[in-house]
Subunit: 307 residues, 2 copies
Amino acid sequence: MSASRQSQRQAVTEFDLNRFLEESTAQVNRTLDRALPSERTRPATIHKAMRYSLFAGGKRMRPALCLAAAQACGGQIADALPLACAVECIHTYSLIHDDLPAMDNDDFRRGKPTNHKVFGEGIAVLAGDALLTQAFELAAQCRGWPRYAHQDVVLELARASGSLQLIAGQVADLEGEGRRISVADLRYIHERKTSALLCCSVRLGGMSANCTAARLKALTQFGYHVGLAFQVIDDILDVTQSSEKLGKTAGKDTAAQKATYPAMVGLEKSRKIAQQLTDKAFAALKPFKGRAVALESLAGFLLNRDC
Amino acid sequence: MSASRQSQRQAVTEFDLNRFLEESTAQVNRTLDRALPSERTRPATIHKAMRYSLFAGGKRMRPALCLAAAQACGGQIADALPLACAVECIHTYSLIHDDLPAMDNDDFRRGKPTNHKVFGEGIAVLAGDALLTQAFELAAQCRGWPRYAHQDVVLELARASGSLQLIAGQVADLEGEGRRISVADLRYIHERKTSALLCCSVRLGGMSANCTAARLKALTQFGYHVGLAFQVIDDILDVTQSSEKLGKTAGKDTAAQKATYPAMVGLEKSRKIAQQLTDKAFAALKPFKGRAVALESLAGFLLNRDC
């Protein structure tokens, strides 16, 4: 290990990830709470349903990645916060819709009954729609930066969430159930279902710090690989952990005959792949010369998580 | 009738609305066709589903109102087109989701089977999501104008479509089924379910022409009243026209025990209300001194339509 690499590792060790996550989660929750109409605002049902899923105890990983990227580029948290919250709204909407009976048909999420189990399918569809719309209202709070106009921010968010990325992933996932697909097809699904929005999170963080094109490229590489690793780990946890631990029904992938890395290449090789992807994410941070400790720490945390 | 009012009427008579609608529809369809991924773009299913509903023969009234407002304010069609198309994407997404079994449970729309009848519920939910997202990608094509920043445009679109407006209308409509509600409650539903997006259409047209605050206010008044009239007429047609004529199941409101103007105040009074609302819309156009012929003509057309 080179001296610089060693000092980078040292910095990561000293970095207090728990504190960073606590602080970023508190800031994100506060911003979301202010942005969303209260539970009593008419029509109360929709605002209760939106808030039910948005404040169901999500780990706020995407916002944390967004804020960490902004920090790595020397930006202000306040500039990145609306975008971090926008990404979380999109993530939550996608979970509500994916859980619907017509899709993954899940009864539990984050340890609680899914949105449609509590509010009914109609309201769950509308709560997802409302959170997706809310994401763009949040994005409209940004003013744009010298290198990135406001249009760039909206385009980034819309493309990552659109029919060629996030939604494409869910469609391919739905269509792949019970069918034999190739590892390349599985990679296609993971790139879109998970990597696209994670990548978008760090890119938006960088953009909010008016980062250089070179740094945006580095963040893109980082986000892409962390996103892929994240989904491989998710598939591993679905096989190895209990429903109680995960807060959602474990073993669903096997039951739905979904293609996953563990099913296709086995558990041991899947773990190796997750490690290799995380290493590539670490390598992408080289241009930050040790100033991306929060990002590096988050990538390590996501690799080693058990739920 | 005053001389100026008479000359305004004269201008409207001479204005060729059919030609205006033909041209605006052609431009909107071309722009939408270019903006959306082709039917063969992977995953093909979602792009087929999006295009199925978007090109199902909708009358493109909202885009026409947007372009007419831009014209009335001396703007360029090219500046307003992406916004006109964004509004149409939002309108179409809302129809796909409203038609779902968990909501209005409709089998026909624009004379064709509804999206979920052709593609299944899961894809229909995702096609709606994708069109909503596409709307903001289209909005990101605008550059902003001296009086209206790009943020203002995104905020306008997000608010009109969000949980306090368009979605609020659908929620209140769902919750009102089979219950006695007041005329004030019915007005609340109409304002949100229909008026919000129509009003947004003309406002965005005005903004794209960098209109003055006074003209934006006039357009807001116009859009609000045209939107309310539009929904009263819709309720009347649901009672008086056949399913074949409407291209959707007629008599649904009565069957679903929905509150409507005809049900609450009778057909004759409903027609009178629609006329009064349209008159208020006409009156709002006064500051344009006869240069808003397309808008005036559209309002008259919407009042007298039979499907």
